[in-house]
Symmetry: C2
Subunit: 114 residues, 2 copies
């Protein structure tokens, strides 16, 4: 039953990562929109390294992917990840965080993607 053990382990690791309010909100946002680091800095009023470190943890597990667009690097949920459906079921039960994107747009701090 090695596979079972590994899957419980993996599930626990994923849930632990999602068990942080900042990362959870980031994931919810990135499931709908590609976001860059500076947007998260604005949204969470948190230092840039702190945001980068959260994203790195998510990336290390394959939960998010990045795409550079010039100056910016856009992060989004990696929907090809083996565990995406597991994560998606969780994210779908969370309240929309789109108001945060709207705020960025109103502030003029939204980085548009193209």
């Amino acid at each position: 039953m090695l596979k079972t053990a590994i899957e419980m382990e993996k599930a626990a690791v994923i849930l632990k990562l999602l068990g942080d309010k900042t990362r959870l909100t980031m994931m919810k946002l990135m499931d709908d929109h590609a976001c860059c680091v500076c947007e998260f800095v604005e949204i969470f009023q948190m230092s840039q390294p702190a945001i980068s470190q959260h994203l790195r943890k998510l990336k290390d597990l394959g939960l998010v992917e990045e795409e550079r667009k010039g100056q910016w690097i856009f992060f989004s949920v990696n929907k090809n990840n083996e565990y995406y459906s597991f994560i998606k079921d969780i994210l779908d039960q969370l309240p929309s965080q789109n108001d945060k994107i709207k705020e960025l747009e109103e502030n003029g701090t939204r980085i548009s993607c193209c």
Copy 2:
């Protein structure tokens, strides 16, 4: 949007609790079976206080409920909890842990409930 904020916060707290392999497995087991502390001690080969402390955290959040039956206290998932459906969706994606109960029965260390 206070409610939204509270719910994200609560979701993160729940996910953090589930983000521990021992607690996650306990929850999966307790979703199907009422279990007592000494069974978990046997299953996880972990000290009794360690198990009690995990259960206390789950109980403090209202995720599990307990029922004393004589000498033993049986713990099970609290299906009346406001967030049960959130948790259930997660548990349903995990591999069955019933083999662990079967092992107890084979060892003669399963405490039957009545």
